[in-house]
């Protein structure tokens, strides 16, 4: 689930859509949570996610090559944009896809 290209492509495309739709970065993280978990995020959850998003974005900004490689996954159309921001949001979304709560089925 963390490494499957299909999951990573889905995360990349959602990250690009959210980036286009929502100007605020913390707003994008919040919206991703709502879309994937079907409930609003708790404050402490947002804290973890925002800190993860920010540190990933900072790291990826200094390693644009990695950011480029991350967002190049999959065949769905790939508009150019703020690559580091999209890659960091994409990683945050992969994380959300992999939460036990997301994967739980009964």
């Amino acid at each position: 689930m963390l490494n499957d290209p299909a999951v990573n492509e889905a995360a990349r495309v959602l990250a690009q859509k959210l980036t286009a739709a929502e100007p605020s970065e913390s707003g994008r993280v919040k919206m991703a949570f709502r879309l994937i978990l079907c409930r609003p995020a708790a404050d402490r959850e947002l804290e973890v996610l925002n800190s993860y998003y920010r540190s990933e974005k900072e790291l990826l900004s200094s390693r644009m090559q990695d950011a480029e490689r991350l967002v190049s996954v999959g065949e769905f159309e790939n508009p150019s944009g703020d690559t580091a921001a999209v890659a960091a949001l994409m990683q945050t979304i992969v994380l959300l896809y992999n939460l036990d709560e997301t994967l739980t089925r009964s």
Binding site: M1, N8, E45, D66, E68, S72, V73, A87, Q91, L95
Partner: protein
């Protein structure tokens, strides 16, 4: 009506609370019994060995499952009477009205047929082995040949499921999952239960992931399937642009969020998932090292044969099984498909045997050379046997055999099993058991015993009762023990 509704809600809450309480305390207590270091503070200790019930003879198992049911009559159960009586009908006094599969029950005749392949005695034990298994014949003195296995199922899927889980339905934990539950893992970087699949050249029968399921046990006990592609474990490698540090950072946050959910809901499966993700992270390093078979010395490659360098062959899987087992994997389950010879037995069985014989024998020798055979139990066999009468057209040069659950042969070697013996006796027709039957439950009880577990004490409470691998049956077959 309102009162009833409120009561019902209260009820649910109380039930939830009590359920949670008993589960919480129960799992903690059981966990600490099985894993004495559970509360020592180090998370990794969860993967350390559990405590057996008594001193084990075997520490690990490699199960070479010959899927599809190889004929005992062309391999290890020599029945010359079938050659002398070839073409005559199976006497009703032998069949005794026992059921047949729908594939032959409508046949007008049940003509007996003897082995097309010659048998000879081998080793000091003088065990009869057919010419199809020359390499196994050379190490036959290491084996205990059980000639009187019998099962309750007559078709592949239920029989296979029965051999693997102790039940025919497919919802119970597999043998490897029970051992992982009972004994834990000896290597925290690898799963305790690994599964390897290979296809033979004969008529094949499918295998399904329910055969290595954890059933109602914690998900960390389920078997991990290694695939035959370039990536032995699918999607184990990080995607492009992610290095080990980046993966670590994500896992830490993922773990933190999952732990919040666990605090809130108390579902042990959440913790199981966290552990599985951490296991996968460690496997990113351990698996590539292990599965690189090209680094094996020439002498080893020669023993298993050149096929062992082709991923996904039975030979490659046997070698990989040795490496996994050596690294501490508790239970390595191989499935080799293609043993279902309803027809063209004379054409297919030599090809199947050619693939299976050399590598199976090589595994025994390899383990022996490394001093591992004494603590590793190797099992070789299928889900049932094959009929002594011919299915379909019988000619001098070819024939087929249908499923036969009444009596079949399974081999064991190493790990506390008596060497060079034959256990049990089938009748001259190879149809019924004359002496010392071994039911599938007995087989499981004996295997657990060899691993230091009392099959009546290895239990898990589920749906209001305690379950065992042997369910409500099973006796340890003491004469098999060294």
């Amino acid at each position: 009506m309102d009162t009833e509704l409120i009561e019902s809600r209260l009820n649910t809450n109380r039930r939830h609370f009590l359920g949670k309480l008993s589960l919480g305390i129960g799992t903690a207590a059981l966990g600490s019994l099985l894993i004495p270091d559970l509360f020592s503070g180090d998370d990794d200790e969860v993967f350390s060995s559990g405590l057996p019930h008594f001193a084990p003879k075997a520490r690990r198992i490699i199960y070479l499952f010959q899927n599809g049911a190889p004929s005992q009559l062309e391999s290890f159960d020599y029945k010359p009477l079938l050659n002398t009586m070839a073409g005559q009908d199976l006497p009703a006094s032998v069949r005794m009205g026992q059921r047949l599969t729908g594939m032959t029950s409508n046949q007008e005749r049940f003509p007996l047929v003897g082995s097309y392949f010659r048998f000879a005695q081998h080793g000091q034990s003088g065990t009869w082995v057919s010419e199809l298994f020359p390499n196994m014949a050379r190490v036959i003195d290491e084996f205990c040949v059980i000639k009187t296995m019998h099962t309750e199922a007559i078709n592949h899927d239920p029989a296979l499921t029965f051999m693997q889980t102790g039940a025919q339905q497919g919802n119970r934990p597999s043998m490897g999952a029970w051992l992982s539950y009972g004994l834990g893992s000896d290597n925290k970087n690898l799963p305790a239960f690994c599964v390897l699949l290979s296809r033979g050249r004969g008529n094949g029968q499918g295998v399904y992931s329910k055969l290595w399921t954890n059933g109602f046990l914690d998900s960390v006990h389920q078997g991990v399937q290694f695939s035959s592609s370039d990536e032995p474990v699918l999607y184990l490698n990080n995607p492009d642009g992610i290095d080990k540090d980046a993966r670590r950072r994500m896992l830490d946050k993922l773990g933190a969020l999952n732990s919040m959910a666990h605090e809130e809901f108390g579902d042990p499966e959440i913790q199981a998932r966290v552990r599985q993700y951490e296991m996968a992270y460690r496997m990113q390093t351990s698996v590539p090292e292990l599965t690189d078979l090209k680094r094996e010395p020439d002498s080893v490659i020669k023993m298993y044969g050149p096929d062992c360098l082709v991923p996904g062959t039975y030979a490659a899987n046997c070698l990989l099984a040795r490496k996994l087992s050596e690294a501490g994997v508790r239970f390595v389950q191989l499935y080799h498909q293609g043993w279902d010879q309803h027809g063209n037995l004379v054409g297919e069985m030599p090809l199947q045997a050619q693939d299976a014989d050399r590598a199976s024998a090589a595994l025994i020798m390899d383990l022996q050379q490394r001093g591992l055979l004494d603590e590793t139990l190797v099992i070789w066999g299928g889900e049932f046997g094959r009929t002594n009468y011919c299915q379909g057209d019988l000619s001098k040069a070819n024939y087929g055999r249908d499923h036969h659950p009444r009596c079949y042969t399974v081999l064991m070697a190493g790990g506390g099993v008596k060497k060079g013996i034959t256990y049990g006796e089938s009748d001259e027709f190879g149809y019924n058991i004359v002496r010392d039957p071994v039911h599938v439950n007995d087989f499981h009880a004996t295997i657990l015993h060899l691993m230091g577990l009392n099959h009546e004490h290895l239990v898990f409470r589920h749906l209001g009762r305690r379950y065992r691998l042997t369910d409500v049956g099973g006796h340890v077959i003491k004469p098999l023990l060294a």
